[in-house]
Amino acid sequence: MHRSGPGALFGPRGWGAVIAALILICAVAPLLNLVVPKGSLFHLSDFSVSLIGKIMCYAIVALAMDLIWGYTGILSLGHGLFFALGGYAFGMYLMRSIGLDGVYKSPLPDFMVFLDWKAYPWYWSFTEHFLYACLLVVLVPGVLAFVFGYFAFRSRIKGVYFSIITQAMTFAFMLLFFRNDTGFGGNNGFTDFKRILDYPIFTPQMRMVLFVLSGLALVGTLLLARWIVSSKLGRVLTAIRDAESRVMFSGYDPLWYKLFIWTLSAVLCGIAGALYVPQVGIINPGEMSPANSIEIAIWVAVGGRGTLIGPIVGAFLVNGARSWFTVAFPEYWLFFLGAIFIAVTLFLPNGVVGLVAQLRAKRREKKLSAKPA
């Protein structure tokens, strides 16, 4: 049953949807936002652009989480960390490109001037180069995940144990980044960015560029994830999720499979973080708080884990609800989020996508049973 070749990833309807999404992101959204005049019914507001742009970054994270949790059965509570690390890596470049325009007119970022530092610490070297920063975005989360994952998976830490030590790792990093002398701006983090590649950062055009890039990254991640789960690798991963011992007895070493998907997942989070930071204009250690990482899991659970469209749907539903709630009833947002956590785990084990599939199956059944009668 195993099909190969890129064309086999989706059926014709699937490819149609992908192409439609691409057209929406690359052509329709920019047109509606930049060309259609303000006040027109079809105008896409700047607020919506940055909101959807942000949520698309979250959706990438949710997809990455789905690969490791939905398909491989490993619940990570550290994906917020990888996301933030990617953001920080790219943030370093953004801070360097502020140049002399900071409050203190110094070549150093304001927070370093404030701490009376005279030069950049060694780990800031070369971050003024855009390409090197992009490399860091991939390498920092990737290497951390690889090393951590290697030791964790090698000693066969799994299930809740793994979740808890990833949470401890995230917590430790948050504490570290909250310190001023770590060299990442303490609890204020990085902000006041001015430009990317010499283009000013807060213009409608740049916002659109970042939006399109996030959208492309999301579609790219979706294709990559689809390719992985429909390959032999994906089958082994699912097998590990369902019965790891049997996979071992069949002669596979789960270590490298798990390590690959774990590292890839972390790298995807890093990329999402790097796209996210210029859109919101700030990155601080709050992004690393354990609560954020757990929330990622709930996006996936709401949408439906073990499906690829589910995490994207979940990320949009939960974050859309958040941006509506925090404006309409700021006090009740946590009640609502908490209720989602409970309701989804109790009543919707397969998420919204699973619910839709279930309803469809029921309707089909009814039709079938109705016909003979």
Binding site: S155, G159, I165, M169, L175, G338
Partner: protein, 537 residues
């Protein structure tokens, strides 16, 4: 410094109660003292201190408190307390306060001098506590003008502790004497000090400036070196004791926080991310009980904890049992889903507390008998609140152990943990046992909250800061083992405090987390693994 403040308060109160006696100070002295920033001011102070007349104290303490005001129109110096003025020279009340009052400002240096002068004068007080406090204030004093008074105080002193303290004060004052034998004797007697200030003084004597010793006399340097070694040894010992104590204290807090988790997670295998919020509920219950007692029976306020302890247990246990019945029961055997659902519960609980009590921290006051501490050495004070909590966590541990090993419920809990199906076959109502067991674990979390409210802030986020720590303790100790939890909590507490001494709090915390992560690599089942075969545990 607190002692100094205490003395000042005591003095101010005395002054008010008695009504100021006619001051022993001459108008010239008072004028000099009321003129800020001049050398004459310090000189006047020293001469007053050297005269040793106790009746100067009220004015000096009023000066230190910032209660002395000058008036140009009256050409008088007044002591103004609570809107009532007293003439500093005559001691008579002033009928009406003039408009042009100007406060006499005492800067920090002068304040210190004032405190020392007051202490010198208090050395001959009849009250032992006042003398002791005064002698302590003088420990870092080097002004040799004080010497005659200190000598006089030593001659009169009958209390051995105060005498020893005063002798060190004298030694301090004699260090700059011209007589070499006096200096040597002084340095040698400083060797018995436990005051960190002494170390600084001795180090100064041994310092080099531009290649030359500050102190030219080799004998004196030798004596100073010897005394320094003694003092340092004693100080390090004090620090060690202090660190071990705060380590044990942190350990006992971790133990309390983790003990409930050791039952719900360790025995039942339920990942309860809302455990921290159950702790928070315990702390808020204490807050409510405290307010109720204060409102209805203020005389019993010192004993409100007697009601708060059972109340926090009951409330947290009730919430826990409701959670078990309502949510967790449906998720047994699905640990990751349990994790997410209980996290959701924790969010709801946090927001609920925020809605009811507000987002700010609430006040929980210590009963009087828990404030203060035991002074072991002069640089080691063990606060009562911490000592009480150590005792409390030991008691809770004992009760839990008894509950699990000596009661019918404990027997059933162990039975269900070891073999649920078999226990069920023997007629144990496993579902009900789960509820009770979860209630027990939650109740202990409530007790932890009650204890934590006595030493830290009580706010909606209280639980969040303990949840990671408590999981670390349980995971490190080994699942299903009370003993492991105890060792892990104490070990983590002490290691954490020692690292804190070396590298600061945050780095210590990170180091401990990294250590745990590495440790779990080596022993995934914790320090005390259950023996047995688990293929896919």
């Amino acid at each position: 410094m607190n002692l100094v403040r205490l003395i000042r308060c005591v003095l101010a109160v005395c002054a008010l109660a008695v009504g100021l006696p006619a001051a022993a100070l001459t108008p010239e002295q008072i004028d000099k003292l009321a003129a800020p920033g001049s050398d004459a001011r310090a000189e006047a102070l020293n001469s007053i201190a050297a005269a040793g007349d106790e009746s100067a104290i009220p004015f000096l303490s009023a000066l230190a408190e910032g209660n002395v005001q000058t008036s140009v129109s009256l050409k008088k110096v007044l002591i103004v307390i609570d809107g009532k003025g007293i003439d500093a020279v005559t001691g008579k009340p002033v009928a009406k306060l003039p408009e042009d009052l100007d406060e006499v400002v005492a800067n920090n240096v002068f304040r210190r001098e004032l405190a020392a002068a007051i202490a010198t004068l208090r050395l001959t007080s009849g009250d032992r506590a006042v003398r002791l406090a005064a002698a302590k204030t003088l420990q870092d004093e080097t002004e040799s003008d004080r010497l005659p008074l200190v000598e006089r105080a030593i001659a009169k002193e009958t209390d051995a502790d105060i005498k020893a303290l005063l002798e060190r004060v004298r030694a301090n004052l004699q260090l700059n004497s011209k007589d070499k034998t006096i200096r040597l004797a002084a340095i040698t007697s400083l060797g018995s000090s436990v005051n960190p200030g002494t170390k600084t003084i001795l180090l100064e004597m041994l310092a080099k400036k531009g290649g030359e010793f500050v102190e030219p006399d080799a004998d004196i340097r030798f004596a100073a070196q010897k005394s320094l070694t003694e003092v340092e040894g004693r100080l390090t010992k004090g620090e060690r004791i202090g660190q071990v104590f705060s380590g044990v204290s942190l350990g006992s807090i971790l133990l309390l926080a983790a003990l409930g988790l050791a039952i719900t997670y360790g025995l039942m295998g339920v990942i309860n991310m809302a455990h921290g919020e159950l702790i928070m509920i315990g702390a808020y219950t204490t807050h409510v009980v405290q307010n109720l007692v204060r409102a209805n029976a203020p005389d019993l306020f010192n004993w409100y904890l007697l009601a708060a302890v059972p109340a926090s247990f009951m409330v947290a246990a009730a919430v826990g049992m409701a959670l078990e019945r309502g949510v967790i029961r449906f998720l047994y055997g699905r640990p990751l889903e349990t994790l997410l659902a209980t996290w959701g519960i924790s969010l709801i609980l946090i927001q609920a507390v925020r809605t009811i009590f507000g987002a700010q921290n609430v006040q929980v006051e210590n009963p009087v008998w828990m404030s203060g501490g035991v002074e072991l050495l002069s640089n080691v004070v063990l606060p009562w609140s911490r000592i009480v909590i150590i005792g409390f966590s030991a008691a809770v541990l004992l009760l839990v152990w008894l509950a699990l090993t000596r009661t019918r419920l404990g027997l059933f809990v162990r039975g269900v943990t070891q073999n649920r199906a078999m226990a069920s076959c023997m007629g144990v109502h496993t579902g009900r046992i789960d509820t009770w067991c979860f209630g027990l674990g939650s109740g202990i979390a409530g007790l932890a909250g009650c204890a934590l409210s006595q030493i830290g802030n009580v706010g909606p986020d209280l639980g969040q800061s303990y949840i990671v720590d408590s999981f670390m303790v349980v995971v490190l100790g080994g699942v299903g083992q009370l003993a492991g939890t105890v060792y892990a909590a104490m070990g983590l507490g002490i290691v954490n405090k020692f690292l804190e001494g070396i590298s600061g709090a945050v780095v210590a915390k990170i180091a401990v987390l990294v250590f745990i992560i590495i440790f779990i690599q080596k022993r995934p089942q914790g320090m005390f693994a259950l023996k047995g075969r688990f293929a896919d545990a």
